[in-house]
Assembly symmetry: C2
Homo-oligomer: 196 residues x 2
DNA sequence: GCTGTTTAATAACGGTCGTTACGAAATGTG
DNA sequence: CACATTTCGTAACGACCGTTATTAAACAGC
């Protein structure tokens, strides 16, 4: 019983996700959110909770809807292919939508008032989980002999993540897909091979 | 004639620079600024103008006081030494002050409301100037035979800047100097040599 | 000691922030 | 049709934002 919801919660969350993606947590106001979602404030509060909870749900959705290439990439047979897939899929994601370039996760991670510190910590934690997955995959590669004995999976993982984060920054600075592809190619030139 | 200024403008700007460094442009309030500078709001306005002008002056000061290693690095004899100096000096800067890790420039570049768009564009422009300087240095290296004929200075410059930006993100995520040094070492492994 | 000028501190401005009472509208059940 | 329940939009809340009018205090020159 009771009145039915008149808006599609998932569609609203998708629209909200894009705004946060572009402006970050604190850069986004409820005015921005209601305009994007086509839904008034109290409806957002009743559907998602407060701003922080709403952002958390947008972040979850970002990982499952846009970063779904990561599980696929991790299953590639060689570490080099894993790295290459991460790079080129990230480039595509970072440049696909002109209205919100870069990476949702990284965009909100850097700056913020003291009040937004919990959100920053949340993004830091999620980022670390992604890097851990990649590091574990590289440890497996080393165990399989795909990476040489001298390879350091933690350093390699941190390195590739650094390139990914850097490309997210550059995408925000207006870099084209082609330029970022040149960056990725250069980044892969350092990748250790079975031989060495 | 007239009353004398009772506070040191340069010291105040230094303190303000550190707050912007940590919280970005919009994440910093005038309450933060007055606390850090030990100066009331009207004094800041009379000395620096409004918030945007104040931020611009802090950015200038950041480049001349903290990024002064860049001109030095660019004068190193080989492109590899240039890249290495940029990387290791950046690591030092990004981790030297626990209260404001990362890079002032990158911190404010990603997120922001529509009202902060002019500031974002300013940071994007300044970042691009830095990359241009580095690219020109690599073009010179190529002309001198320090880089092989196949080397692409623009791609190499973008690549190294990506690593630098990525390390700034990781510093904000709490990375230690040692971990970032491992990243830099890995990044340099990709650097082209005279031979190839 | 005035006078004119610059700075200092207090306090307030209008606007926007995130959040939420509140009453009207819309549903399923008796 | 009444009823309880849920959602809706309006409108407002207190808090904080960047900015500034205002007044008192500190100086230089006559």
């Amino acid at each position: 019983m009771g009145r039915h919801r008149e808006f599609d919660v998932e569609k609203a969350l998708d629209a909200i996700l894009c705004v946060f993606w572009s402006k970050g947590y604190e850069g986004t106001s409820y005015t921005d959110l209601t305009e994007a979602a086509g839904v008034e404030r109290p409806a957002l509060y009743s559907a998602f909770g407060n701003k922080e909870a709403l952002f958390a749900q947008a972040l979850d959705r970002y990982y499952e809807r846009y970063l779904d290439y990561i599980p696929d990439a991790l299953q590639k047979p060689t570490s080099r292919e894993v790295a290459a897939h991460m790079l080129y899929n990230a480039i595509d994601l970072n440049t696909r939508y002109p209205k919100h370039t870069g990476c949702f996760n990284i965009t909100g991670l850097l700056a913020g008032s003291d009040g937004a510190e919990p959100v920053r910590q949340m993004l830091i934690e999620v980022r670390a989980r992604g890097e851990a997955l990649f590091r574990e995959r590289l440890e497996r590669a080393k165990a399989e002999g795909d990476l040489p004995e001298t390879a350091k999976p933690d350093a390699l993982a941190a390195y590739l993540m650094a390139v990914l984060h850097g490309m997210a920054v550059q995408a925000k600075a207006g870099f084209s897909r082609e330029t970022l592809e040149a960056v990725a190619e250069q980044a892969l030139a350092a990748w250790p091979t079975r031989g060495s």
